[in-house]
Symmetry: none
Subunit: 222 residues, 4 copies
Amino acid sequence: MQAKADDGHVKRERRKQARPGELLDAALALFVEKGYAATRVEEVAARAGVSKGTLFLYFESKEELFKEVVHENLAGRFVEWNEEFERFTGDSADMLRHCLSAWWERIGATPASGITKLMISESHNFPELATYYQHEVMVPGQALIRRILQRGVDRGEFRVDDMDYAIYSVIAPMIFLMMDKHSLGTCVPAQQALDPLRFIAMQTDVLLQGLCVRGTGDGGRG
Amino acid sequence: MQAKADDGHVKRERRKQARPGELLDAALALFVEKGYAATRVEEVAARAGVSKGTLFLYFESKEELFKEVVHENLAGRFVEWNEEFERFTGDSADMLRHCLSAWWERIGATPASGITKLMISESHNFPELATYYQHEVMVPGQALIRRILQRGVDRGEFRVDDMDYAIYSVIAPMIFLMMDKHSLGTCVPAQQALDPLRFIAMQTDVLLQGLCVRGTGDGGRG
Amino acid sequence: MQAKADDGHVKRERRKQARPGELLDAALALFVEKGYAATRVEEVAARAGVSKGTLFLYFESKEELFKEVVHENLAGRFVEWNEEFERFTGDSADMLRHCLSAWWERIGATPASGITKLMISESHNFPELATYYQHEVMVPGQALIRRILQRGVDRGEFRVDDMDYAIYSVIAPMIFLMMDKHSLGTCVPAQQALDPLRFIAMQTDVLLQGLCVRGTGDGGRG
Amino acid sequence: MQAKADDGHVKRERRKQARPGELLDAALALFVEKGYAATRVEEVAARAGVSKGTLFLYFESKEELFKEVVHENLAGRFVEWNEEFERFTGDSADMLRHCLSAWWERIGATPASGITKLMISESHNFPELATYYQHEVMVPGQALIRRILQRGVDRGEFRVDDMDYAIYSVIAPMIFLMMDKHSLGTCVPAQQALDPLRFIAMQTDVLLQGLCVRGTGDGGRG
DNA sequence: GATGAATGAGATTTCATTCAT
DNA sequence: GATGAATGAAATCTCATTCAT
């Protein structure tokens, strides 16, 4: 009986903790799909399997919910990724390839990528969130890409004329993939659909062709 | 007196003719800025310098206004561009460069580029419009890019392994520039702001490096 | 030329005078058909062949228009009918028959009967008009019926136990016919439609059977 | 504690169950009094003791509310009445008398009679409802009256020359009473007011005088 | 006088938020 | 804690009325 009570308690504790998470997931999905304003809190609650009232036990307001959705899905992954950067020992072309495909698997392909679409759609309505996103994602993201490119330059692997624009060249295909996943690509028949990893591979090759000092034309594949 | 009466009539007529356009412009700007749902029709009317009621003289409903905003700003420019394509006599690298910078000047830099952001934000809420946009913009746009690349291949200037993905490589920076203009870039201080023509030039160079058969490393500038 | 000018002037004068009449006719028809609140002044104007603005040159407001519609169509016909009563020389059964069929031809069958439907529908919203209608129609109408019945009593033709209720017995079929014409009967196929004069004839026979002192069962027809 | 919780739940449930009925009652009263278009939903809600928003929890729109008001108050009473017809053993004159006075008590005197006024006022604006009313009330009502009259004929009690018009003769005073109750009679001082049961008794007598084969002149009172 | 574009008060309808149960 | 009935502020939309032409 003690065990049973404990079990119950644990399970209830877990659910209690999990509830906001389910709500945040539901909210992310719906905000990304329909936009902030067009999403009704009742839908979010329903998708999370709770009632409208319950949502307000966990979040002060719809706006607060939105902010927590953004915060929750931005929780600094860059610490981890900077550590991976430090540990990486291969050449910089491989590093860039690894970085982009890892990004797709861990972010692009997951609901977290919806946050970028959300910020694109709602940045004017939530300027403080836009700033926050800028600080939490854009700045560290660009910094990480810069470190990778700079590493290539420092090791004599890359030649970079204009670092800022080189960074944009890395970001552009990522933005494109996320927009495709969350909007433009959703009304295209499946067999015509874009294969993200293939696109990333191709883009990286083109980029590396431009970056690699020897300009061997094989995009650094060698 | 005839003249005076005519003048008055003409002036009023001119207003009447102009109103829908003014309202569509105001609506485009606000829908792009705040999203469809977060934009109040009264704001649209105010920005066009009329009252709420006047808007409904010209548009049946907010939804109808939205649809007409999209239709109005999509009026097939591809006829004109296909004609330019036919007339172009230079090499295909120049053609691609010209095409992208012309696109920026005529679309990207104008409010019309907001339509793309709108479709990205609202495609799930207006599926018929998304389909329409697909037919009117995505398909002919990709077809035009395909023609340019194919022209390069046919003339022995380009080498294209996978045409579909090559097209995406052209589109991705365009999407990126529009998102920057309408969202992400708007909270970045001016002196750090991205110069679109410079970005386009750089991107084209990188692309051409990958495309041009000789792989001269000068991106076709040589 | 003088003649022509005169003609023009006369015609214009006539039209100017006629305009409010056309508006009143249009308004009566639409108010009866759709109700006061559900009728838009623009519809009234359109049906009268003028613009919305013109209506307001002749009537201060929609409410004023409504009041004038009622006043216009109530213009005391009872003077004329009381004179007919005075002149009538036949027996009282014939008089009642004549009275009811004349009423149908002059009022019941004409748009004027719509006023009764209007008063039934809108009396709570226009209490002063209801009172006016009471004074102008109900009271003199009941008085006229009373005079006819009383004439029959005085001449030894009718026996009336309760004058008030005898009057209601005359009115009830009139109300029924007007409601049939303006509402209930309008969704009945034509061949099933009620023939008002036949109904009046029948009703009068039944009434007279009750009224005529000899109770001959032929309703006074002899 | 169990009881208390149940109580609460039950009480709230009871409110929830009762709401639509309260709203329908309020709506019937106001629609009859002011007409559909002139009644504001907020008034309906206020009369039912709830707020505007609550009304829309139970009814999709004002129009839907109106339709349900009509449907609710038309719930086929004719089954019951046809059964009464079958069970009735007295003579047909009594049957007709009973039928009309029962109608007044169960319908005419109750708010349900307002439906007829509503249909008269709004039939053009809601043609489907007019048809529905035709099928649910007019047709079965006329059929019931026809059965009663036919019974009299079959039993040798009544003589009916034209059945259709005989039926109208029964209906006309009913229409008159309802119009009096809901419109015309409401601005008449109380002491002059019409006593419906007395009017019905008188009308029935007159009718029976015409119907009864012996033409005894006592209206069947024997 | 006639017009009809423009207005804005007022109606319907939605939905985030509250709170009794 | 959880619920969902109730609320009312705010949005869309209508239409009587005005007024420049």
